[in-house]
Symmetry: C2
């Protein structure tokens, strides 16, 4: 009998309780024995919860209970979550989490702390909600040298961009619609400024390339400056605008990563990932490109990924090998920001823009009467190289292009 | 030190040797120790192979060598492959294979034979080439009750259908093109008649729903009768024609499965799976739909999936839990063939067809001057129910619709 506790009874935490209890029989079959939920720890009261008897406000009860072998951390954020996770691991309990912020900031420390204590720190649910991605990366693609990961990692922004493209709505209006539908939070900045996608690409890059990559090492840009005009140009050039997180292994062994809106060709399967869905493309030297697609968030999808980790731990109790990577540092990432082609829109004559950029493909747009021009650069440039070419020219919009 | 042998040095077998030897260092890291290739068994001579010293024509040398813990079977087919696999498992060696025919026909027997002998029979490469699907199904989605699997499981037919749709080519011409490009075999019947897709959906259904489903229990139809006219109707109704393998868990616990061409709405992510790519959608009660996408065949993608299984075995040598399902039988599948909506094309007046079908959506087609009509039925029907409605009417084409 495996006994578990849930820390934090919010959306995901309550979903974990629901999945664990609602699927108890089939989970017992897959885990080679029943998994019982013994405690739920939250400072709040939940008088209507069906799990009344399990609640405690005192974390140390769980910490000191030797029967609890697996703890689910769904508190979120750093502070308390970090403290409780460290204490669980030191107490010899494995921890499963959906907390991408904590993994992106402290994953190196916590996975090693787990290994030192003979337990595991697992976080399949921290990226892509219920989409299997961490385990496929580490196990199924193990025969590949991984070269690149590119993904639509945030459902909120993908919903907003999909609405902008389909309805021609400006950003603010699409954001309001997302909030009204429960797809965006009241303070949407972590999503729309790209921070959420940044944490996720950091986690994926750390696993894929073997050294910890920290969020402040990844240039990150959001989508709030995207206009319907940009959407128009993208559409009429056979592309969509998607917020991508990218991490590429460079020839010198460093990782080049960035988060920002990209123009994506319709032929690329990521262009077909719409609404709140996520899609993550992994490139390996043997397999080529593989894409994983599904709902990247939501109570039950995310909870099901947490519970899959719990089942894995229960089933392989004694023998689960830890998932580890090396320490990060300034030399883990490339000195130069990523070079890509760029989409540039400016209030200027077509030939002037094309000449400034040193050539490129001018984009057409129906009904353009404002004397604006948009152009895609001929070759890949770093942001600094692009700035130098533009010189005194003040662009209205600058977006990366995914090739 | 783990020692392995490869049985059958064809396309996949030689790819496995290449990946094992070419990635030896990173594989050793992931497997917690080196994996050495000790033998390659093939009746043919390969004087130009770089692995001259490893070849043997005598399988019993491998069978009797206690140093060999993992055997890769890439012979294909049933006969010799079945005999050698049984003998390896009885000799206490785990077996890894890409042989979908053998798994679809004898997977129940061989996984249980492996478990009896304390070893494993793994076959990630048998479905979807290098796309991770077996392990995600069994591990990552373990917290879900699986409800349905629908996939584009055969790259050859998907290439042919993509060429027919894009170039307006008839089937025979697109097949020739596929053969010229090395995407179809000289005898293409296993692919174009749907047998390959059928084996794969049987493997996926057995794992997902827990009882062995045999190929002769799955009504299977190929794509050779699809015409450019059907392609036209599909396109103009916002759909594509895709060869799908489907397996659905019915309320009574039986499995309803079929293989055949389907009209797929462009909004469905499977519609975007083009050329030789495969895409497999899995529906779970918690996660909703998840799709796995990538190259479903090819030497290195398939070999990399085989080697991932080998790494898994080497790493978890003593503790790899077996993957098992229950015995099949007539009561494992539904008594009634699957009910879906249907596309029906006939040489008749629109209202006549619509009336015969008991209502439905008439499809338009540019340049239709032949007095033909195409209609999609209003509701789901079994094949027998459709036949009864059509009565004396002889349709030119009948295809399922994916909803």
């Amino acid at each position: 009998m495996t006994k578990t506790a849930i820390l934090g009874y919010g959306t995901v935490g309550s979903g974990v309780a629901e999945v664990l209890c609602g699927h108890a029989d089939s989970i017992a079959r897959k885990a080679d024995g029943p998994i019982a939920l013994k405690y739920i720890c939250d400072v709040r009261d939940f008088p209507d919860s069906p799990y009344q008897d399990l609640f405690t406000k005192d974390f140390s009860v769980i910490e000191r209970d030797p029967e609890v072998g697996i703890v689910v951390e769904t508190i979120g954020g750093i502070g308390v979550a970090l403290d409780f996770t460290r204490r669980c691991l030191r107490a010899g309990k494995s921890v499963v989490t959906s907390n991408k912020e904590l993994v992106a900031m402290h994953g190196y420390e916590l996975t090693h702390l787990a290994a030192e204590n003979g337990v595991c720190y697992l976080f399949e649910a921290s990226v892509g909600g219920g989409i299997p991605i961490i385990r496929p990366l580490t196990q199924c693609l193990a025969a590949n040298d991984l070269l690149e990961i590119t993904g639509i990692l945030n459902g909120t922004t993908n919903y907003i961009l999909t609405r902008m493209a389909r309805a021609g709505a400006p950003f603010a209006e699409a954001l309001k619609e997302a909030q009204a539908n429960g797809y965006a939070e009241r303070d949407p900045s972590a999503d729309v400024e790209g921070h959420d996608a940044c944490r996720k690409i950091c986690i994926l890059a750390s696993i894929a390339f073997g050294r910890h990559i920290y969020p402040d090492q990844v240039p990150t840009e959001g989508i709030s400056h995207i206009t319907p005009t940009d959407m128009d140009y993208a559409e009429q050039s056979g592309r969509k605008i998607k917020l991508l997180g990218r991490a590429v292994l460079m020839p010198d062994g460093t990782v080049s990563a960035c988060v920002g809106p990209h123009l994506v060709d319709l032929e690329n399967p990521l262009a077909g990932v719409e609404d709140v869905f996520n899609g993550i493309t992994v490139r390996g030297d043997a397999i080529g490109d593989v894409m994983f697609y599904g709902r990247g968030a939501g109570k039950l999808p995310t909870a099901s990924a947490v519970v899959a980790d719990v089942i894995d731990l229960a089933r392989n109790r004694e023998h689960r090998k830890p998932l580890l990577w090396e320490k990060g540092g300034p030399d883990a990432v490339s000195a130069q920001p990523m070079a890509t082609r760029w989409y540039v829109r400016a209030q200027t004559r077509p030939e002037e823009l094309r000449t400034a950029l040193g050539g490129g493909q001018l984009l057409a747009r129906r009904g353009n009467e404002n004397g604006e021009t948009a152009c895609i650069t001929a070759g890949a440039l770093t942001p600094e190289e692009l700035r130098q070419r533009l010189g005194a020219l003040q662009p209205l919009s600058v977006l990366r292009v995914l090739d």
